[in-house]
């Protein structure tokens, strides 16, 4: 809260000086006693915690490793390559992201599917997260909605540089996405069983013409689930 100060000459009480001193000491004392006798709101939903009202301490420090503030839905997190329902990447190696990337941290090598209507896929898709400046241009440039930064997590720290270079195996994760115009749904694909294809067609959604946040467009998507996943992975890695 910005503190509004009116630009006026001091009134009688203020020019007497002492009443204001005492009022200030009173304010300090009030906060002191509140923080002395009350504790923080322990609501697990961090963003909904009350602070500073009656019954709550002003202190809102997060107990960091155990409590973490969730990122906003629009947070540009770690990249992911969006999978199709059959586990292949949506990416067709068109190099748009590598072309627009101002840090030039994306390296792609294309290869050809023998049996998929999409014909092309990234045999190598490497992002150097150390070079990445997290601008999100790759997501905007992608014509296939094949790369997203909706994972809600930042790049995990590591002790080796090589661990910051994410290849397509590590990047391909998260909930699959299908749109009605997708070639493998329109034409069918010999690599997808027919019943699976029907199911995919039923799940496919029309391509959005308005930009909304991706979290709300992806069924089953949850920042928290992803964060928990990441936490479990980290714990598994520690063991």
């Amino acid at each position: 809260m910005p503190y509004q100060l009116e630009n006026r000459p001091p009134d009688l009480r203020e020019s007497m000086y002492f009443p204001e001193i005492i009022r200030g000491i009173g304010t300090i004392t009030k906060h002191f006693l509140k923080n002395l006798f009350f504790s923080r709101d322990a609501n697990p939903d961090i963003l909904a915690r009350k602070r500073g009202g009656f019954g709550h301490s002003d202190n809102v420090t997060l107990q960091y490793p155990e409590e973490r503030a969730p990122y906003a839905p629009a947070y540009r997190g770690l990249h992911r390559l969006v999978p199709r329902e059959d586990g292949k990447p949506r990416c067709v190696a068109c190099y748009m992201c590598a072309t627009i990337c101002p840090a030039q941290c994306i390296y792609i090598e294309a290869a050809e599917y023998p049996d998929d209507p999409v014909e092309k896929y990234p045999a190598k898709f490497v992002i150097d997260e150390l070079r990445c400046i997290v601008c999100g241009f790759c997501v905007e440039a992608c014509p296939k909605d094949a790369i997203r930064m909706d994972s809600g997590e930042h790049t995990p720290p590591s002790y080796e540089r090589s661990a910051q270079i994410w290849d397509e195996k590590r990047l391909l994760r998260g909930p699959p996405v299908s749109y009605q115009y997708d070639p493998w749904l329109r034409r069918g694909s010999p690599s997808i069983p027919p019943d699976k294809l029907e199911e995919m067609r039923a799940r496919a959604k029309p391509f959005p013409t308005v930009a909304t946040d991706e979290a709300s467009q992806t069924p089953g998507f949850s920042v928290r689930a992803l964060a928990a996943e990441a936490k479990d992975r980290a714990q598994a890695a520690r063991k």
Partner: protein, 583 residues
């Protein structure tokens, strides 16, 4: 009676249309295109006339070396003499005297938009997969003339997606806009009509005759002339994106014709050859064998000098290598048992320096010509001699008074024991079996690749092929053609002329050159008037292109930080600064 019936005089003729005015420029046709007066030869089409005054009329099916089909309807313009004020195809209508042509009226623009919408109706939006992206006239014209969203609300017509037309060409029938350029090319230029259009209407597609592949040796050109992504090169498919690649003006090394090419490269890898226009040599065509002849530039290269063969091979430092080579050759020079093998795949500059070293350093009186074995020949472009510079070899040898002897003589001489040492500038040999017999010799070889004769070399020096040097090839007609360096020599390889000059310096000759240009300036006069009016700096600048040069992505793909493709001087920062200071 009869006299009375006889008219006194012929009745006046009814007034017809006024006689056309005499031509403004006799012998030429004068017309007005968009308010600009053009004077062209009779028979010139409106497209060419407009091009002459810098007006671009869009077209898909028109090609100046093919017959006119006028079926894409993209070039319709308003002409003052059109019947009923109809729009006329500019690619097909010759300019007539006094005609006014308008190419930017609302009617024409509306027509262009409608035509593009029609052509794009069933076109799959495959740009992210399609190899034509970046070179696609549909994309270019859509952005320039259309920019409308699709109004199609029924499913698009589906056709064959990956039709293997033949060994070199893959067709995507959906992307085809049926301009029939490829059909006309096969019929008129390749004179082997293997392509045609089947079916009718929006179900038509380009195809070969049933069961017959598109196996003509010039089929690769249909990929170049295809204005959209329908015909793609099987060899280049999905190998890379063209906007990253730079193009160097080069010459094909597949045969003695010396077709002018663009060498498309990125990060020291040659990705493809494209034919470059040169009316005198190859118009703008190229054979398929030439198209795929780039592979030796990338793979199997020798990158470090080497001493000893087989299991005893030791890498040699660059500084030491020419001295070691000289030590190997000198005893043979003294004994007179040394032969020099020159390869007609090396450039003219290479061979000039090599001949100078052979004559003055190694004291030989004759050189043997190696080179690749003969291949097929036809009456269009391909020559049986698969070496780009045999004529250059002869000229360079003649310039230094050396006799040129065929490779078979070298094998015979080696068999007879007259030759015990060999200096090979380029290890291409026509006869691999005979090359095995040369394995017993003490060989100093300068080689691009690590095969055949290079395996037997006592000292092997890594050489740079034409993609990594500036130089000249002399084709079978004696036409000298420049090619330019695409990227710097790989590893420790250097052009043959540099290696030969180092060897010469080790033999005590005062030889040192900084560039191919310097070689030609120093030794070119030896050739006398053999090259006619050839000038070293005569490379035409049309069409060469700089790609988006990626920065080094450091650890991602193994390139070194700070790696850059070669950038011509006029685009360097220093140059721009200097220019801004002067202006």
């Amino acid at each position: 009676m009869a006299e009375e019936k006889k008219p006194d005089a012929a009745p006046p003729k009814p007034p017809g249309p006024p006689a056309p005015p005499p031509p403004k420029n006799p012998g030429f046709v004068t017309a007005i295109v968009d308010g600009k007066e053009v004077v062209v030869k009779p028979g010139t089409t409106v497209i060419e006339a407009a091009k002459a005054v810098g007006i671009d009329i869009p077209y898909y099916c028109y090609h100046k070396r093919l017959s006119i089909a006028a079926n894409c309807r993209m070039c319709l313009v308003e002409m003052s003499n059109a019947p009923g004020g109809k729009l006329m195809p500019a690619c097909q209508m010759p300019v007539a005297e006094g005609v006014t042509v308008k190419t930017d009226t609302p009617r024409v623009k509306d027509q262009q938009r409608a035509t593009l919408e029609f052509l794009l109706l069933n076109h799959p939006v495959d740009c992210s997969i399609c190899d034509q992206a970046g070179e696609c006239k549909l994309q270019d014209y859509y952005m320039a003339y259309d920019r409308q969203p699709s109004r199609l609300d029924v499913p698009k017509v589906m056709k064959g997606k990956r039709v293997e037309l033949g060994p070199t060409v893959t067709l995507d029938q959906e992307r085809c806009i049926l301009c029939t350029r490829c059909v006309r090319f096969m019929r008129e230029v390749a004179e082997n009509p293997q392509l045609g259009v089947a079916q009718r209407g929006n179900e038509s597609f380009i195809t070969t005759f049933p069961g017959q592949p598109l196996d003509d040796k010039y089929a690769g050109n249909v990929v170049d002339i295809c204005p959209v992504g329908a015909l793609t090169s099987t060899d280049f498919r999905f190998r890379g994106r063209v906007w990253f690649m730079s193009s160097a003006r080069s010459v094909c090394t597949g045969c003695a014709r010396g077709c002018n090419t663009f060498l498309d490269y990125l990060n020291d890898v040659t990705y493809r050859y494209r034919p470059r226009e040169n009316d005198a040599v190859n118009e703008e065509w190229m054979c398929d064998d030439g198209r795929t002849s780039y592979k030796y530039l990338n793979a199997g290269r020798v990158l470090v000098a080497r001493e000893g063969r087989g299991a005893n091979a030791q890498p040699l430092p660059r500084k030491v290598a020419p001295r070691r080579a000289a030590e190997v050759l000198l005893p043979h020079v003294a004994a007179g048992s040394l032969a020099v093998l020159l390869s007609p795949v090396a450039s003219l500059e290479d061979l000039l320096v090599a001949c100078k070293v052979a004559k003055e350093g190694l004291k030989v009186g004759e050189v043997y010509a190696g080179g690749r074995a003969d291949g097929w020949q036809d009456d269009f472009l391909k020559r049986a001699d698969e070496n780009p510079n045999r004529k250059g070899l002869e000229l360079a040898a003649a310039a230094y008074g050396l006799a040129v002897r065929p490779f078979a003589d070298l094998v015979a001489a080696a068999g007879a024991g007259k030759v015990k040492g060999l200096w090979a500038v380029g290890t291409e040999v026509p006869d691999a079996k005979a090359a095995e017999k040369l394995g017993a010799l003490e060989i100093v070889a300068q080689s691009y690749g690590d095969a055949a004769l290079a395996q037997h070399a006592a000292v092997l020096l890594p050489a740079s092929p034409h993609s990594e040097m500036d130089g000249t090839f002399v084709n079978f007609e004696g036409r000298a053609q420049r090619f330019e360096m695409a990227y710097f020599p790989k590893g420790e390889s250097r052009p043959h002329w540099a290696l030969a000059a180092e060897l010469g310096a080790a033999l005590g000759l005062p030889l040192a050159f900084a560039s191919g240009r310097e070689v030609f300036a120093a030794l070119g006069p030896q050739l006398g008037s053999a090259l006619g009016d050839f000038a070293w700096d005569s490379l035409p600048s049309t069409g060469s292109r700089l790609g988006i040069v990626p920065l080094a992505a450091g650890t991602v793909d193994g390139r070194l930080p700070g790696n850059r493709d070669r950038v011509p001087s006029e685009t360097t920062e220093d140059y721009r600064r200097a220019m801004s200071r002067t202006s």
